[in-house]
Amino acid sequence: MKAPSFAYARPGTLAEAFDLLERHGEGARILAGGQSLIPSLNMRLSSPELLVDITGLAGLSGIESLPKGLRIGALVTHAQIERSPEVKRHAPLLAQAAPHIAHPAIRNRGTLGGSLALADPAAEYPACAVALDATLVIAGKKGERRVKAGAFFKGLFETDLRPGEILAAAEFPPADKAVFVELARRHGDYAIIGLAGTQAASRKRFVFLGAGATPILAVNASKASSLEEAREVLGKDLDPPADLYHSSATKLHLARVLLERAWNKL
């Protein structure tokens, strides 16, 4: 189908963007890569009055090394993350996750910020952000605020972003080891279930995607001292919702399969 009618603005400064968002309130939607928003418009699931295209804003792009970790601008695309030597070196979890996102033509447009701000429960970056204990940098009219990824994802497609705010960047601390694994029926399809695993200062963190309304940190499995124990206690951490093809029990089984694969690589 075709998208409904809407107005379109491409502000050149953050101040202009905040003004537009304030003036149009609920009627405005932020457009970045558009790889989730435009399908939802095409299917008439959403009908905003105004799209505020933020791709002309300075300061939201670029990958930058920090004293500890990496800052990635919200407008950086999946393809840029996939190819970046800095990401490979300082945040290999993201470099491993990016090729799982859809297909090359979509990765050329879709952005890190778009994926984090949409908070699709089956998306890769939200789980990576929680696993790496990333900090999200949020720009608003009154200035910048910073939120830990664990507190940012609040529910199904629901985040800590307030009306009028724009996600500007994410900062990823380094991990000693990282592994990303995911199961999908066909490469690039939505994950049935996926796992972002990290190890920093001998502490493991296993965060699942497609296992609930938000990325889910498997608290018990992350503390386990052996693979056997981790597999066992994962049942306490996860109660994955069934989808059209997979029961909850199947998803839990597949989560254990991924846990074993990740454990053996960390």
């Binding site: 189908m1 075709k2 998208a3 409904p4 009618s5 809407f6 107005a7 379109y8 491409r10 457009l31 558009g34 790889q35 435009i38 399908p39 418009l41 095409n42 299917m43 799209l51 295209d53 791709t55 393809a79 090729p99 859809a102 297909h103 090359p104 033509a105 979509i106 050329n108 447009r109 066909r186 490469h187 690039g188």
Partner: protein, 149 residues
Amino acid sequence: MTVNGSPVRRRIPARQHLVDFLREELGLTGSHIGCEHGVCGACTVRVDGDIVRGCLMLAVQANGCKVDTIEGLSDSGELEALQKAFHERNALQCGFCTPGMLMAAQDLVLQKARCSREEIKRHISGNYCRCTGYQAIVDAIEQVLNGQG
């Protein structure tokens, strides 16, 4: 914007997708419209050198960009080897997916000198063909990439 090397200037509604603009305003009907929500890949075109979904990009977002379509790549001879291989290997039946498939395949050819069948399959995983079963398509792309024939 520049389309297939020629400058184009139009006033268009904000809601118009890039692929609709190319087809309806410019008559470039080689880029096909299948699913219109980014799943099938029939509308694949190139914007500033990168392949994109023509149905997931608004035409206004391509303002000032360099857009290349199957017509441009075909006329310039850039796709000659792939087109020949698709023909020889019978890598199409109804042909609906072929323009998108060629655009995606050429993207891989430009990125890599050699490729495994697995890599080829992954690269075209976003392009649906409902006739061929893909084997002949992968054969044709492999023939061009790896010179196997």
